[in-house]
Subunit: 326 residues, 2 copies
């Protein structure tokens, strides 16, 4: 199979041809220099999709919920893209979860596109190519693009910053420690889900989240997020319960963003964040290219402890012609 | 209480005066410009401590184990510093876990210093000040400095990169999903711990980890980590079982690093990583200072989608005089 230059894939992506989309996604994930201009084109053609982040602790049933939600979106006639960020071994780069299998029943529908990505230890938890993959699906005309993350901590924050609407999934009975950590990410939710509500302790979890929300809201600066009040949706994926309500809440949040004008603030915050991340990426690659010369000299100073990491970094930035890779 | 300039604290830290250490740690965490030179001094006086990272999923009983381990280290006559990185709300900056309370019984011993830090959404999970805090405790003469992280994913990788010896704590019965994710971080362990071994399903967890290690080792490039074979230590903190064995394994790993010469490779890798992180931090602060001028113009291009994040980042780096803050 001949290699197709990335620029020749752009038109195919814009026509939503599955093979062009698949290839462009691979190049977004690989982050190859050859694809740079094409990925910039993707960004320029994107901007219409509703980006939804779905996050929560391991074991909260996110993947099942995402699959059910995708089916629900399809029933409204809209097309949906899914970028699933898997935890992966930082050293092998291998993906370890088999969750994607649950998506299998959606595979035959051309209105659904599912892409699983490894995180590969990118700073901030989301792989560098994740947001460019979202651009690809957005440019290909998917109406809703969901980013699903597995894990707790940084990933959630990154998702909150990259999505228009952030859904945080909690589940009953995951233990106190986990729920405590979840409390740290409750604030980033535009919509809360308590999954597995067939379990007897689900009402307790719902009540806990509502109690934390009441407490949290009173501490928040007024008007920071408009007047949106994050709903708590109870779902039972195995019985398809609550999925319609969840989709309604997601749609309703988007309508609120548009009506209030807040969508522009969110888009702007996402763009700023992405620019900063791209600058860091350029910095890293510049660092890698100069490893033998500048960097080796600075490393010798660090090793002898005559130079601190901060002082070495300042010299590195002053020495390197940072813009050269533009 | 009068403010003491950071430079005047350096001598006190080197004499291991608790109040000087406490103040310097606060400044490391705050990352103030005023403390820059003093923190660089800390780095230059550091380098003798054995840095031990302790990590694992929420609920694995890390904090209790760290407290027991600290008591064990004290019984050998050595002094121990602990930097505990708490998960925190990225928006409020508040710390949410009460784990530190379990450390309370160590508080009266001047040979133990415990510092709890918030993560505050720093890229990579570990707060920027974490490694400079380790420098402070190292410069103050603590023989072993432990970094304890809570969470899964990026934090573990950062710890592995910042520590000479990485201990990964697993616990029985935390659920399949969590154990699967744990599998992703098994590779970074120099020493494995299975905690809570009074539970009936502990043997299963031990067997699982050993099975994964057997599988993993055969896939690893030969000699990448010398000939060290990560042991699996069973502990029951409530009965103080296994703690002596764990300390012996940690000491044994350090002896291996020194004997094999691998310690220098690890130190070098840590320094390189720290330099890169410091460069990113300078970049961020430069970005923040130019928000009104350069950045605003680039943001307009992003908003109109005439400029991609990558193209905007290249211009940003070319425009800014990166070295100015050196």
């Amino acid at each position: 199979m001949a290699y197709i230059p990335s620029r020749d894939l752009v038109a195919g992506v814009l026509r939503s041809e599955q093979r062009a989309v698949a290839r462009m996604l691979s190049r977004a994930e690989a982050g190859s220099d050859e694809a740079r201009q094409a990925l910039d084109d993707m960004f320029q053609h994107a901007g219409r999709a509703h980006i939804v982040g779905i996050t929560g602790v391991p074991g909260s049933g996110k993947s099942t919920l995402v699959a059910k939600l995708a089916a629900g979106i399809r029933r409204t006639g809209r097309r949906v893209g899914i970028v699933a960020v898997d935890p992966s071994s930082p050293f092998s780069g291998g993906s370890i979860l088999g969750d994607r299998i649950r998506m299998a029943d959606l595979g035959a529908d051309p209105g659904v596109y599912v892409r699983s990505m490894a995180t590969r230890g990118a700073l901030g938890g989301l792989a560098n190519g994740t947001l460019e993959s979202v651009d690809v699906l957005d440019a290909a005309g998917y109406d809703i693009v969901m980013i699903e993350t597995v894990g707790v901590g940084q990933d959630e924050v990154e998702v909150a910053r990259a999505a228009h609407t952030t859904v945080v999934v909690s589940a009953p009975g995951l233990g106190d420690d986990i729920q405590a950590i979840k409390a740290g990410i409750l604030e980033i939710a535009d919509v809360h889900v308590v999954s597995k509500c067939d379990r007897p302790d689900a009402n307790r979890t719902i009540a806990d989240i509502k109690a934390m929300l009441t407490l949290g809201l009173s501490l928040k600066p007024q008007g920071e997020r408009g007047r949106w009040s994050a709903p708590v949706i109870a779902t039972t994926s195995v019985r398809d319960e609550g999925v319609t309500e969840l989709l309604a809440a997601i749609d309703s949040h988007y309508a609120h963003l548009v009506a209030s004008g807040e969508i522009e603030q969110r888009r702007s915050a996402i763009n700023e964040r992405r620019m900063l991340r791209a600058a860091e990426e350029i910095l890293r690659s510049s660092f890698a290219r100069h490893r033998e010369s500048h960097v080796a000299r600075l490393m010798a100073g660090l090793s002898a402890r005559t130079l601190s990491p901060h002082a070495a970094a300042s010299r590195l930035l002053a020495d390197l012609r940072m813009g050269e890779k533009a």
